[in-house]
């Protein structure tokens, strides 16, 4: 094929000077050869087969009794797999995917090539639709529960009553599309059908829902928890509406706060019908807490996922706390040479106070303990 193309190029430049003509021809030939080679590799015959199937490959137009050699990914294939000039692959597996070439026995001319892709037909896809920006619209996202190992094509259709709506695909994540609501407070359900097709088969799934049923905001953002000075049982928590919620004025959110000390498993809950802050007043003194917030439209839909967890410890009175600790540790530990190290770390960890003040306190405590040990040894 390459040679024929090369030959047909010659009459194109009859009037040019010979050396220039030859040079042009050579360059053109090179370009054509490179293009044809690349083209044949990309566009080479692709054969899709199911996992576990029996595959028979014919060597192009060669007769059944012709002498041929098959290779798979560069390795010669044993004659036991051949039936005449046909290649028989039984019960193909994923590892048998690759480039197969068939060469005529004596001349080693390439007679046939194919790209074998072993895969499976698609299983029923998983589809999810959600409105995190009510009342602007909603988005749908999907995926396959198991991989097929071959290329798949997705087609999504949205029907609202008698109207066909267009779901615009998002450019990054391509298995996601979004739709704008044209009307609000609709009594007619939305029907979303996702069809997945590949060379070995197709499958689909459908979701039918009311406008209100799929409303689920994103979790609240910028959750901050702070101790309240001079209040050992309080923690001040504040957060912001999720930025994806377009109109909190007309569509207010309500919130759910949960908190527990790290050492316990039981959560405490508070539901707040408005406002983006809350003060916890029953925290255990000195214990580190984990706090999360969730949001929901005040009237419709479901709760968001929990926000990122925030840690905080209520305020504790440091200096008094440390003196008592130092005295206790001093009396319990008998005069040993390693006396100094353990109490220092104990005192610093106890309050779990983070901040610039804590470091200075640690050092002071260390010095105090050192002083005591000097006095009593």
């Amino acid at each position: 094929m390459n040679v024929a193309v090369f030959r047909s190029m010659a009459p194109v430049f009859p009037k040019m000077a010979s050396p220039v003509r030859s040079a042009c021809c050579v360059v053109l030939a090179a370009v054509v050869v490179v293009y044809a080679q690349r083209h044949s590799q990309q566009d080479s015959h692709v054969q899709y087969e199911r996992v576990g199937a029996d595959v028979t490959m014919k060597c192009g137009s060669m007769d059944w009794d012709a002498a041929v050699t098959w290779t798979a990914n560069g390795t010669d294939i044993d004659e036991s797999h051949l039936n005449g000039s046909y290649l028989i692959l039984k019960n193909v597996g994923l590892s048998q995917s690759g480039q197969y070439f068939c060469y005529e026995g004596s001349s080693w001319h390439l007679k046939y090539q194919t790209n074998l892709r072993v895969g499976t037909p698609p299983k029923e896809p998983v589809l999810m639709c959600r409105s995190n920006n009510y009342p602007k619209g909603f988005y749908c996202s999907w995926h396959l529960p198991t991989p097929t190992y071959i290329p798949n094509f997705f087609n999504i259709s949205v029907i609202h009553g008698t109207k066909d709506m267009v779901c615009e695909k998002d450019s990054p994540p391509k298995n996601r599309c979004h739709i704008k609501y044209l009307q609000l407070f609709s009594t007619v359900k939305y029907k979303v059908t996702l069809t997945v097709t590949n060379a070995l088969g197709k499958n689909f799934t459908t979701l039918t829902f009311d406008e209100f049923a799929i409303v689920k905001p994103d979790p609240p953002e910028s959750v901050v928890a702070k101790p309240v000075p001079n209040n050992p049982r309080r923690l001040e928590v504040s957060w912001q509406n999720p930025s994806s919620w377009p109109d909190p004025e007309s569509f207010p959110l309500k919130f759910f706060l949960r908190y527990r000390p790290l050492i316990l498993d039981q959560w405490q809950h508070v539901e707040l019908s408005d406002g983006t802050s809350h003060t916890i007043t029953d925290a255990y003194a000195g214990k580190e807490y984990i706090i999360q917030v969730a949001a929901k439209d005040s009237d419709i839909g479901t709760w968001s996922d929990w926000s990122v967890a925030v840690h905080a410890t209520p305020w504790t009175e440091e200096p008094k706390h440390l003196t008592t600790e130092a005295q206790i540790t001093e009396t319990t530990s008998v005069s040993t040479s390693s006396f100094m190290a353990p109490p220092t770390t104990k005192i610093c960890d106890k309050g779990a106070m983070v901040g610039s003040g804590a470091m200075a306190v640690c050092w002071t405590a260390g010095l105090v303990v050192a002083a005591y040990s000097v006095l009593f040894i």
Partner: protein, 230 residues
Amino acid sequence: PDVRADDGDPAGDSWGIFTFLCAALCNLPALPALNCSEELGAGQSIQQTYDLTRYLEHQLRTLAGTYLNYLGPPFNEPDFNPPRMARAERVPSATVDLDLWRGLTDNARLAANYRAYSRLLCYLRVLDGQVGTAELRHRLSHFCASLQGLVLSIGGVMSSLGYPLPAGPVGPPGPPGASAAPNDFLKKMDDFWLLKELQTWLWRSAKDFNRLKKKVPPAVVTLRLEARGF
């Protein structure tokens, strides 16, 4: 862990404000303008109307479940999604264009709610008269009473804001013959759509009254009451 040492001291300011509020509230009964328990401010009425729509929406869930079971399949199937037929248009629809809904004046917003629930109440009352089981009759009549309360509540808000109540037919529109369904199945479809529209209206009203809550400031309340000569 990102616990920071506290910078300011807002606690002191909050206490001051709280004390002032206490003093203000304690002195309120002395003010003649607000010393009238019968006349509720528009703000409070809006809140009460909002609460009533939420209560009705909750009641409707049980009522609709029972009623659809009474109608039988396919009406009580969760995926039942019939096309909207022309005759169903008699029931006022809550569906509205987004920008139009946003741009509604307070008067238009309240009037739409008032008209819708008045009509829906009429249709429900007709239903009440036809229903078979005693349990359903009891539930329906209880719901109708609550819905009547909602209509009155909306009317109350409109009056307190100085808006005229929408005039219109109190009974089901058109001659009796025209509104009757030609067959049993279509009659059931009418009932299905009536309940669907009612449910959607209650969801919409929650949003309508949320918007009204934000837009009617307390200052308006005092002004209106003073105008009535208190």
